[in-house]
């Protein structure tokens, strides 16, 4: 075993405010976009910065990518200080902004070649890398068409390819799947996971709960310029909230009460109650709790008509910390936000 690698991104006490012209007071007002953010991203992980609009996600990302100077605090990216050595940081990172930034009148290939050559690839190396990425991102026939003619999903794929043309150590993406349909979204997640598996550290911002939850290895939830929770999504959800299980057995109330009493004594089941012919459980470990429920029912020869598990979401974490829901305040687009994470109902005929 070698020594643990240095963090790919290390941020301490980061602060940034903006003067906004024409505020309530003449002469404008100051908005504190980032108010003391601390976080560390390990090399080779997908790190998600989750929060509602205006939480300071994009500002943080812009500071880390050298686009914006911080007012205070330290930020090291790929081993270099963003303030003191922005040039070195820029060589080691890739960036996919919200706007994308592909040159629309140029072809995909021209975009890629320019990016590659700016980072010092020879023309031959850039051509090889371009062919490789066209293959990976399924841009084969598109490569020689003007980007203007691409669909949204195709353009996003090109933009990600542009960001990794030079094999950066850390790839930053600002709201990478906003505006993508579910298929393109799943596709991009897959690409990002593959990049991660290849050793690239990925730092993304998102206001989608499922993107933070399912794609990210670790998440920082931010609100009003501060980190309010930081950790693995599973860990956060478990820390702040528990699984809830609903089981509907084909049995009378007496049997249900007896089963519930028995289950309440199981260590990883926090509570068990009977409601309208169903047993409702709060569990710290849904899988083992389900097994215990089925075991208890089977021991009495009671068949199960239906069982459902509702897992906590990162929204529960946000709710606990802020008293608000990410779903309400998160996206002005509303409906497109975050599907629930796995409230699956399975018919379980015993």
């Amino acid at each position: 075993m070698s020594a643990p690698p240095l963090p790919a991104v290390q941020v301490t006490g980061l602060r940034k405010s903006f003067r906004v012209a024409g505020g309530p007071v003449a002469g404008g007002s100051t908005v504190e976009a980032v108010r003391g953010i601390d976080l560390a991203v390990a090399a080779g992980e997908i790190f998600g910065l989750l929060g509602p609009n205006g939480a300071g996600k994009t500002t943080t990302l812009r500071i880390l990518t050298t686009l914006l100077p911080a007012d205070a605090g330290d930020a090291r990216v790929a081993g270099e200080d963003v303030r003191r050595a922005p040039g070195l940081v820029r060589r080691r990172i890739g960036y996919v902004g919200q706007l994308g930034g592909a040159d629309k009148e140029a072809t995909g290939r021209e975009n890629l070649m320019l990016a590659g050559r700016l980072y010092g690839l020879s023309a031959a190396d850039a051509r090889r890398r371009c062919a490789e990425l066209a293959e990976v991102f399924d841009l084969g026939e598109l490569a020689d068409r003007a980007v203007r003619t691409y669909s949204g999903g195709q353009r996003r794929r090109l933009e990600v390819a542009l960001g990794i043309m030079h094999r950066p150590r850390v790839l930053f993406l600002d709201e990478p799947t906003t505006g993508l349909d579910p298929q393109n979204r799943a596709n991009l997640w897959e690409q990002l996971r593959r990049l991660r598996d290849g050793g690239t550290t990925i730092f993304l911002t998102t206001h989608y709960l499922d993107e933070a939850d399912q794609l990210s290895d670790r998440v920082a939830i931010v609100d009003h310029g501060r980190v309010i929770a930081l950790g693995r999504p599973e860990e956060l959800k478990r820390r702040y909230s528990a699984d809830s299980i609903t089981v509907i057995p084909e049995a009378g109330p007496d049997v249900l009460d007896a089963v519930a009493r028995e289950l309440a004594d199981v260590p990883f089941i926090a509570a068990a109650v009977v409601e309208q012919g169903a047993i409702r459980l709060t569990a710290t470990d849904a899988t083992r709790a389900l097994a215990a429920v089925f075991g208890a029912l089977a021991a009495r020869g009671v068949p199960t008509r239906a069982a459902a598990v509702a897992r906590p979401t990162l929204d529960d974490v946000f709710l606990r910390e802020t008293g608000r829901s990410l779903r309400d305040g998160g996206s002005p687009a509303g409906g497109a936000d975050a599907g629930p994470t796995g409230a699956g109902v399975e018919e379980a005929a015993a």
Binding site: R62, L68, G100, D103, E105, A106
Partner: protein, 257 residues
């Protein structure tokens, strides 16, 4: 893996990108070539009536007018640079390039050099067409006229890019550029010699950098290479171009929230 591309290569890459952008818009090439020729065809006959009159410089009317058109082309070739800058701000192209280690000066110079080409090609056409209609070609003077006016194009191009980066709105940029265009060109004696105007107008011309370019251009076009106005013209244009390029580079460097 990431040994950075040398500065000259970066500049070349950005120049190529900008040149391709122009070549994709045949409309610009067509108007870029026809407008100067239309000036010659439509405006020169008007001046013919003035030639030989009081205060009008001696010589063939085109000897006075061709250098003016050349300055106008050099000015126009540069002043358009700011528009694509705003499109590139809006589409995130500049943001993406600012995260690369590419030199901001190279980024600016790519556009500047493209604009110099967009001056030189129509400029050569004007000289050729003008010569066919009576303009006296002085090769020595022309050899200096093109570099002099390339400095003017560079100054205008860098200024326009800097304005685009700072104003960030097409409307504001258009207002500033068109607002500046009339006094700058009129007070430089580009189309009509300032010597036709009253003393106060001539005095005002002396604070306009473009005036010195026009004076130098007239000397050079007439084949007078060793004139004081040529030295002054080069000095003023070099200073203005350097200042504008510094400003444009700084605008690319500056953080844009």
């Amino acid at each position: 893996m990431t040994a950075l591309a040398p500065f000259t290569l970066q500049t070349g890459l950005f120049f190529r990108r900008k040149l391709l952008e122009t070549l994709r818009q045949p409309v610009w090439i067509i108007t870029g070539l026809t407008t100067p020729v239309l000036y010659l065809a439509l405006f020169a006959p008007l001046l013919r009536a003035l030639a030989g009159g009081p205060a009008f410089p001696p010589g063939h009317v085109l000897d006075v007018f061709v250098p003016g058109i050349m300055v106008l082309i050099a000015f126009g070739a540069g002043m358009g640079a700011g528009w694509p800058v705003i499109w590139e701000l809006d589409s995130g192209v500049i943001e993406r390039l600012r995260v690369t280690p590419a030199s901001r000066l190279a980024l600016l110079l790519g556009t500047v050099l493209r604009d110099v080409v967009m001056f030189a090609v129509p400029g050569a056409v004007v000289i050729a067409v003008g010569a066919a209609f009576g303009y006296h070609v002085h090769w020595g003077g022309l050899a200096l006229l093109f570099p002099l006016l390339a400095l003017l194009t560079a100054a205008c191009s860098a200024t326009s890019s800097a304005l685009g980066l700072n104003l960030r709105q097409i409307g504001s940029l258009a207002a500033v550029v068109t607002g500046a265009q009339l006094p700058l060109t009129l007070l430089a004696g580009i189309l009509l010699p300032l010597s036709l105007g009253p003393a106060w107008l001539r005095a005002l011309g002396h604070v306009n950098p473009l005036y010195y370019a026009v004076q130098a251009a007239r000397s050079l076009a007439a084949g007078t290479v060793a004139a004081a106005s040529v030295g002054v013209g080069f000095g003023v244009m070099a200073a203005v171009a350097a200042l504008a390029i510094w400003w444009g580079t700084r605008a690319y460097q500056r953080a844009m929230a």
